[in-house]
Structure formats: C-alpha cells, structure tokens
C-alpha cells in the first residue's frame, strides 16, 4: 500500500495514472449533465412560490457545494505537500485553485441573479454572501501567491500555508446561516434526514446535477494536473518520449 502511494507520488507515474482515470470522469460528466439539465429545466415542476425562477438552483447549489469541496481537496493536498514534500500533491493543489475560483464565482453570480427578483436585491452584506466572497479572494490569493515565486518549492510552501489558514472560512460559510441573521435561507438539503424540505421531483435532478459537477471537477482537475506535470518535467526524457508518442 505504502509502496503504491510512493510510486504514485512520482510525477511520471502520476501523469499516466491521471490519463487512465480521465475517460472514467469525462464521459459520465457529459451524460449526467444532459440528464440533469433536461430533468431540471423541463421535467421538474415549477415551485409554488418562486415559479420557474427557482431553476437557477440547479446551477447555484452544485456550484456552491463544489466551491467548498474543491477548497477542502486543495487544502488537503497542500497540507500533504507541506508534510511529505510530495510533488504530486503540489500539482493537485495548484490545479484546484482556478477551478474552485470558477465555481465560487458561479455560485455568487447565479445567487445574485436569483436574489434580484426574489429577495429584491442583487447583493446583501450578510454572513453567507460575505464569507463566500472571502472564499473567492482566498482562491485568487492562492493563485497570485503561486505566480509570485520563481522557485516552485518555495511557492508550494507559501501557498500551502495560505490554503491551510483559509480552511477556517469553510465552517463559517457552512454555518453562517445558523450563527448569524442572514437574508440567505437555511440549508434545504440535509444529509441523514428522511423528510427533505424539497419535493423529490425537484430534489432528484439537483442530485444528478451535483454529481455531474463533481465528475466535471475531477475531469478538469486531471487535465490541469497533467499539464502542470508536463511543464515541470519538460527537461526529462520521458516527457520527450511522450511527445513523440503523441
């Protein structure tokens, strides 16, 4: 087991491992997206209060969930590279940042587009919205810090510390709707709860979309990681061989 992990930690092996995994995430993403979009936009009924405007949820909630999930993946990889100095985990953490930033941006933008007609405002400085905005700055800060250093190892150390410190924001985002008075509503979907606050006809397409977003993230993460490995290892023989092979 330990041997398998150390083997994977070498960038060359990790590159090929990512390549093997890629189709197993890319194709399901396409299928799940098509099913989820059709189900959510066409099949699911309109809401009794919000009518068709609630359909924004099929983008907003998966994007918001992913913004937290990607951060946890990023922080875990960053911690691993800080502790074991594994290059593969540095690559994964770096590849997470732009994807997480994109999800966070989507969650904020679609939330704003829903908030205008429903709440009556594009933006409100409430705890949920503000902490999610801080998350966007954390991702952008990570990316800026990463590009600020010439040396990859120094950059990895600096960004890892930022990523780990930023983890405090994650529970703040999650519990903000309970800890403070927020305009944002409480959680609709709760795990381990038999009776959901959302009707099944609307909940199932949301689950399909959430799964689609997860496999999409895995797909893009693998692609980005492979690119960063090629870049880092451009001087090695195996990359030259790989180029000729393609």
């Amino acid at each position: 087991m330990l041997q398998a992990i150390t083997k994977l930690a070498s960038l060359k092996n990790f590159y090929f491992f990512c390549g093997k995994l890629l189709p197993w995430f890319a194709w399901p993403t396409l299928i799940l997206m098509i099913v989820g979009l059709y189900w959510g936009l066409v099949e699911a009924p309109a809401d009794y209060q919000q009518k068709d405007s609630y359909r924004i949820i099929y983008i907003h909630v998966p994007a918001a969930w992913m913004s937290l999930f990607v951060y946890m993946v990023m922080a875990t990889s960053a911690a691993a590279s800080l502790i074991w100095k594994t290059k593969a985990s540095e690559v994964v953490a770096n590849s997470c940042a732009p994807i997480g930033a994109a999800f966070t941006f989507l969650a904020l933008a679609t939330g704003s587009l829903w908030g205008k007609p429903m709440w009556g405002t594009w933006w409100e400085w409430d705890a949920r919205l503000t902490s999610e905005l801080v998350l966007l700055f954390l991702y952008l800060g990570y990316m800026a810090l990463q590009s600020a250093f010439e040396d990859k190892r120094t950059a990895a150390r600096a960004t890892a510390i930022l990523a780990i410190v930023g983890v405090v924001n994650i529970p703040i985002i999650h519990y903000s709707v309970e800890w403070w008075f927020t305009l944002h509503q409480g959680p609709t979907v709760q795990v381990l709860q038999e009776k959901q606050a959302m009707d099944k006809s609307m909940l199932y397409p949301l689950m399909v979309m959430a799964t689609a977003f997860k496999t999409y993230f895995a797909t893009v993460l693998l692609m980005r990681s492979r690119n960063e490995i090629l870049e880092r290892e451009s001087h090695t023989k195996w990359v030259q061989e790989e180029r000729e092979h393609l």
Binding site: P117, G120, D126, A127, A197, M198
Partner: protein
C-alpha cells in the same frame, strides 16, 4: 530585486490587503446586521433610533397589505407575534413578498410611528415544492406540516 519580482510582490501585498479589508468589512457588516435589525417589539419599546436609518424584521401580517390611493405607496403591518409596526413603502416589492412571509425593511421611523421604508427585502425559507403539493398541504399550513414531519 528584479522589476518582475517587485511587481509580483506588490500584487501579493495587494491581495493580502484585499482579503484583509474584505474580512474587516465582513466583521463590521455582521455586527451592523446584528445591531441594526430590530424586531417590532423592540421598536414598540422605543429601543430603535429616531431620525436614523435602521432595519425592521418580522412577518407580514395577514390581510394587512393595502395600496394607498396614489397607487404607489404600499402599507402593511409587520409583526413578531407580540407587537406590530406599520410600514409604508414606495417602490417595487420583491416577488417573494406576500402575507405571512418574513421580510426585512430598511428605513426611518416617522414621528407618527409609521416606518417609512426605502428598501424591502423578502427572506425565503428552505421549502421547495410544486404548487399541487403546496395546495394539498395548505389546510394545515406548509411550515407546520414540514416541521411536524421532520
């Protein structure tokens, strides 16, 4: 230090500054929210400031929404199960505004005790369901039904 490195360092400093201001803004905003959100009971007790803008939050009372003769001003009563505040508002109400809904209004308290709002926000609950299901639940009340089931 090379110019590119200097520029990058400046960028990092800017980002750190940005995150810092955002965090500071956030903290003050939360505190403000806590301070500036008054319930109708607090308003009735005279705890709310006069001549200064603040927020009132509560439920819109059933059958209390009326439009003035000018066709622009909407008057409605907000309550917290104990006290009530009458709110007058000129403007477009959010689509979720309806009787029984939780709302937050920003504005000033007039000398006649009527709250003149310049912004009304509707708070949404966590329930999502098709109209037929809502209609079937109506006799008992949607919220109570869901709570009873949980």
């Amino acid at each position: 230090m090379t110019p590119t490195r200097k520029r990058r360092l400046m960028m990092v400093l800017l980002i750190v500054l940005g995150v810092g201001t955002a965090a500071a803004l956030a903290l003050t905003a939360f505190n403000k929210n806590l301070m500036f959100f008054f319930s109708p009971s607090q308003v009735a007790a005279g705890e709310a400031p006069l001549n200064r803008s603040f927020r009132v939050g509560g439920m819109v009372k059933d059958n209390s929404v009326n439009r003035d003769d000018d066709g622009l001003t909407v008057r409605f009563i907000v309550h917290d199960n104990a006290k009530e505040v009458t709110i007058a508002y000129k403007g477009i109400l959010p689509d979720l505004f309806r009787e029984g809904q939780g709302i937050v209004a920003q504005g000033k308290l007039g000398s006649d005790g009527v709250f003149i709002a310049d912004e009304v926000l509707a708070k949404h609950d966590e329930n999502y369901m098709p109209p037929e299901v809502a209609a079937a639940m109506k006799p008992i009340g949607v919220d109570k039904q869901l709570k009873a089931n949980n």
